[in-house]
Amino acid sequence: MAIVYEFVWQVLHVLLHIHRTLITWFRIRLRNWNGRLWSRALTALIVPMALSFPNQKNIVPAPGKRVDRRYRWGADGKSLEKLPDHIGLLIAEEEPRYTDIANLVVWCMAVGISYVSVYDNYGVFRRDNSRLMDEILKQQQELLDLEGSKQLCVEFLNNGTDKQDQQVLSCQSVLKVLSPDDGKLRIVQAAQQLCRAVEQRDKTSKDINVTVLDSLLRESKSTPDPDLVLKFGPVESTLGFLPWHIRLTEFISLPSHVGVSYEDLFSALQRYASCEQRLGK
């Protein structure tokens, strides 16, 4: 009898796997098909610039259109009931595509989100951060027609100092590149710091509470906890993303970051805008 159950289980999981693969395939085909339909409609008709239409990657935008997109994305951000102050992009996929991630970062900035964090489970972005930065600067220019680093400041999560606060104030958006070491390991390091203070009789064990620990784990006084984490990939887990900071974070899953569009991001932001946080009450 056990063999029968096991057989049925195997069949069930094969079917689920096929189901998942088909959905992914259809999603990509539908987008391409939609795209072709739209681009044909646009070339056939004269559509006023005021109408918003899906952003096409295969059409090289003229400089004028980039500026229009920048304003449109900014307006989209303002039209939402609430926008996260800090968004986390959790890439739970094996092979990150830097261009797509850079697009996401640039769109988040354009929409008006002040803090953007990028995280992957292997710490690849942290190790290879220059490649990510180059890609982001390139996409910034490509999509927003912005040069230089005026709009974007990069901050690697490390012990915050007042100096960093000053740098942050001059930027419109702050990017943080995170890895699993910024999660539990960081909490352990804070715990060691507090225990050393106790060893040196600067503190007692009774002085340790949530507020004290939180101030140590807050990288700079102005950085808020992530309000929203967009998780890309099929794995349903936080995979070690900042355990201390995600107590009230909303998690929205997207199937993949590969080929992700602005519309995918914006519909996730709309979902976030409609959620209600009761904060225990």
Binding site: W9, V188, A190, K203, D214, E236, L239, W244, R247, L248
Partner: protein, 333 residues
């Protein structure tokens, strides 16, 4: 039994359970039982009725978990943040909890028969004294049972739990039982309220909210998270099966991520031990550098002594906590 509903699965449910059990099953499931008040509004009954139905649904879900051979369940019953609610609602919840714990103690024989061990996790000093005493009695009465485990998070938030664990390690340092360099991820885990349980394999939140609300943030970093839109009092066996299916689909990648994290942890500990040893030799050594063999031996000795220190500390901590539970809560002296 009031906490675990009696009964068996029907034929179709039994068949589905057997099929699911052919694959990897979670050993420890955590529930955020959200949606009682929305359910009450939907059914146009009192809020308190929503909470009561929520408790009944918990009893039913525990029965299903046992049928599915899931032997450890952790539930988020009351958060420290929930004290912000109206006095009536908080008092109502405290009264409900008191009734349920009193009932539990009356069913001691059944608890023994099913081998149910009840643990309550949280800052219990925030609760009314009589409730603390009932909880203490229930915990002490079921302490030795080991067939299935129910962890109820009451007056709990994850941040408080982590801060408390750090405070306990600091106490250990104060008492000279451990050094600050002995503080590690593994030690912190063993100082949490949930130290007697493995990390949850699966976390389920009902009512459609997609956040963790300060629940088991440390323990669920590599757990499968399933958010379901059904309201808790309407939870069904099929919702549970759906969640378990999600767990099975995520099992392999999560296992891989967990193993990778564990390897990283072991490496970090090894590096930390080496650094401590180097420090020690510098300050207390006779200045002569050690050869590779001696260094290896010294490292092994250091690791062994660190582990011994940690064990002694954990023993002392457990004795302290246990005496706190028995003596403090039961009003014994």
């Amino acid at each position: 039994m009031s906490w675990i509903r009696e009964g068996e699965l029907n034929l179709i449910e039994k068949l589905s359970a057997n099929i699911l059990k052919a694959g990897p099953m979670p050993k420890h499931v955590a529930f955020i039982m959200d949606g009682n008040r929305r359910y009450a509004r939907k059914r146009q009954v009192e809020r308190q009725e929503g909470h009561t139905q929520g408790f009944d649904k918990l009893a039913e879900t525990l029965r299903w978990c046992l049928n599915l051979s899931i032997h450890e369940v952790t539930v988020y019953a009351f958060s420290i943040e929930n004290f912000k609610r109206s006095k009536d609602e908080v008092d109502g919840l405290m009264e409900l909890a008191k009734q349920k714990f009193i009932r539990l103690l009356e069913e001691q024989d059944n608890l023994e028969k099913h081998g149910v061990c009840i643990r309550v996790l949280g800052d219990l000093t925030l609760l009314p004294l009589d409730l603390q005493q009932h909880i203490a009695r229930a915990v002490v009465a079921t302490r030795t049972h080991n067939k299935c485990f129910l962890n109820v998070c009451f007056a709990y938030t994850s941040r408080h739990e982590i801060a408390n664990a750090v405070g306990e390690m600091a106490w250990g340092v104060e008492q000279g039982l451990i050094k600050s360099s002995d503080v590690s991820e593994a030690l912190l885990s063993r100082c949490l309220y949930s130290s007697n349980s493995p990390n949850p394999d699966l976390l389920i939140r009902t009512s459609g909210e997609v956040r963790l609300s300060d629940f088991l943030l440390w323990q669920t970093s590599h757990s499968c998270l399933v958010f379901q839109s059904v309201l808790w009092p309407e939870y069904s066996f099929w919702n549970l099966c759906d969640a378990i299916l999600q767990y099975q689909l995520n099992h392999r990648p999560l296992q891989k991520a967990r193993d990778q994290h564990r390897e990283g942890q072991a490496l970090q500990q090894h590096e930390a031990d080496r650094a401590c040893l180097a420090d020690l030799l510098q300050h207390h050594g006779n200045g002569k550098p050690l050869d590779a063999q001696r260094r290896r031996e010294a490292l092994l000795n250091y690791t062994a002594s660190r582990e011994e220190r940690v064990q002694d500390f954990l023993g002392a901590l457990q004795a302290l906590v246990r005496s706190g539970t028995d003596v403090g809560r039961l009003g014994l002296s």
